[in-house]
């Protein structure tokens, strides 16, 4: 049987509405970028899910190492003063 072994994998990102960011929705196989866009349209936006599509070769994505997630995100973890809830407001201040 003929194989499709040469068809690379592309990651698909959809922007659902103007103003929102593109969001990863899945992947498709395609021989080139134009086909990847067409396939992504057919597979991931059959119900008006998008106003814009991005496709990126899966091999071009650089990801952080999941085993290193502890140390990688540690610098942000103990800085609770970066959140508004760290600051107590007097009851008299209703909205801020």
């Amino acid at each position: 049987m003929t194989q499709g072994k040469d068809w690379p994998l592309w990651e698909v990102f959809v922007r659902s509405a103007h103003g929102l960011a593109h969001k990863h929705v899945g992947s498709v196989h395609a021989t080139d970028a134009a086909m990847a866009l067409e396939n992504a349209r057919d597979v991931y936006t059959r119900r008006n899910e998008g106003t814009s599509l991005w496709v990126v070769r899966s091999t071009d994505i650089v990801a952080s190492d999941p085993a290193q997630k502890g140390p990688l995100f540690e610098p942000a973890r103990n800085k609770i003063y970066r959140h508004p809830t760290f600051y107590e407001l007097p009851d008299a201040v209703k909205h801020m």
Binding site: T2, K5, D6, W7, L9, G26, V43, R46, D65, P66
Partner: protein
């Protein structure tokens, strides 16, 4: 269900004390309802089971297009035809979401398809039954997709992230499938006596195969315990089946149809419907490849793959030519 009797390759579930090192940490994460992602460490048995389960599910979506595709050119109206086309296209989409989820586990699409085409991989027993009349398209949407929804909603919370996310998308779309099926049934049941008889005949033929979709009874379900410990199965076969029966019996009454089970009774104490004995020998026969349409379905899939070979080759040749041309222009 769409994945039935998934082999975990595990003879006995080990308790938390028996697990060591990375495997103990992995199980702790699952118990804490954390999602497993593709690049995380996972036990080899979990990875293999997940590939089997997701690919079986994907194969079911793809093979599931065949019984319905049979009726696209014979749909009774343009409205029914566009609906059925959209539904069958959705099934293809569901298959593709799921193949992508399986591929995150380091298995190629071609390997998965080879396993389907050679008969090594299973797909749901339900798609080995024939669609003899238009009413079968109604029953498939109403019952088969109805059963699929009951099975798939808990899977949106399963431990493997890519599978859970694919399930969320699928569940959103299944709801349309079930409603369009019920709509067909409703129309037939409000039609002529011949149309109503056609609806009843379809229910008679599909009821028991649908009840069997949930898989063997819990007592015979050998791999369930490990799948539940890994949270890739969240409710037992019998629990899901009961939910389906309790939901469907009143709907059949509303349609004015009779469930083909003389032993069916409502247990007033529990509020659950109790069904008569299921012919599990038939289920195992179909699973092992000896159902009414197993050979026909597989042959249709292999023919589609082989007939499409020239399209795949042409697309690859085109991409190659374009890449060479770009290189020439750049030089």
């Amino acid at each position: 269900m769409y994945a039935q009797m998934v082999d975990t390759g595990v003879a006995r579930v080990r308790s938390a004390d028996e697990l060591e090192g990375e495997e103990a940490g992995f199980q702790r994460g699952i118990d804490a309802l954390e999602k497993v992602e593709a690049t995380d460490w996972m036990p080899e048995a979990y990875r293999k089971t997940m590939i089997r389960q997701i690919s079986q599910h994907a194969h079911s979506e793809i093979v599931g297009m065949l019984p319905e595709g049979n009726w696209i050119t014979r749909a009774p109206s343009l409205k029914r035809k566009v609906t059925l086309l959209a539904k069958v296209q959705d099934e293809a989409g569901h298959g593709l979401y799921l193949y992508c989820a399986a591929e995150t586990l380091d298995v190629s699409r071609d390997t998965l398809l080879e396993a389907l085409h050679s008969g090594a991989a299973k797909y749901s027993s339900i798609f080995n039954y024939p669609t003899l009349t238009w009413a079968d398209i109604g029953v498939i949407g109403w019952l088969v997709d109805g059963a699929a929804i009951i099975n798939q909603i808990p899977l949106c919370r399963c431990s493997y992230g890519p599978y859970a996310r694919a399930m969320v998308r699928i569940c959103k779309e299944e709801s349309f499938h079930q409603r369009q099926g019920f709509d067909i049934m409703l129309t037939l049941c409000q039609g002529s006596p011949a149309q109503k008889a056609m609806a009843q005949d379809a229910l008679n033929r599909w009821w028991w195969p649908t009840v069997m979709m949930f898989g063997p009874p819990d007592a015979e379900s050998v791999h369930s315990a490990q799948s539940m410990a890994w949270r890739i199965k969240l409710q037992s076969n019998d629990a899901l089946r009961q939910k389906f029966i309790d939901q469907t019996v009143p709907q059949a009454a509303l349609l004015g149809l009779t469930i083909p089970d003389p032993a069916l009774t409502l247990d007033p104490e529990t509020g659950h419907y109790r069904i008569g004995p299921v012919d599990w020998a038939e289920f195992y026969r179909v699973i092992k490849g000896d159902g009414p349409c197993n050979r026909e379905r597989l042959a249709a899939r292999v023919a589609a793959w082989e007939d499409g070979a020239w399209v795949r080759e042409a697309a690859a040749a085109h991409a190659e030519k374009q890449a060479a041309r770009r290189k020439e222009c750049a030089a």
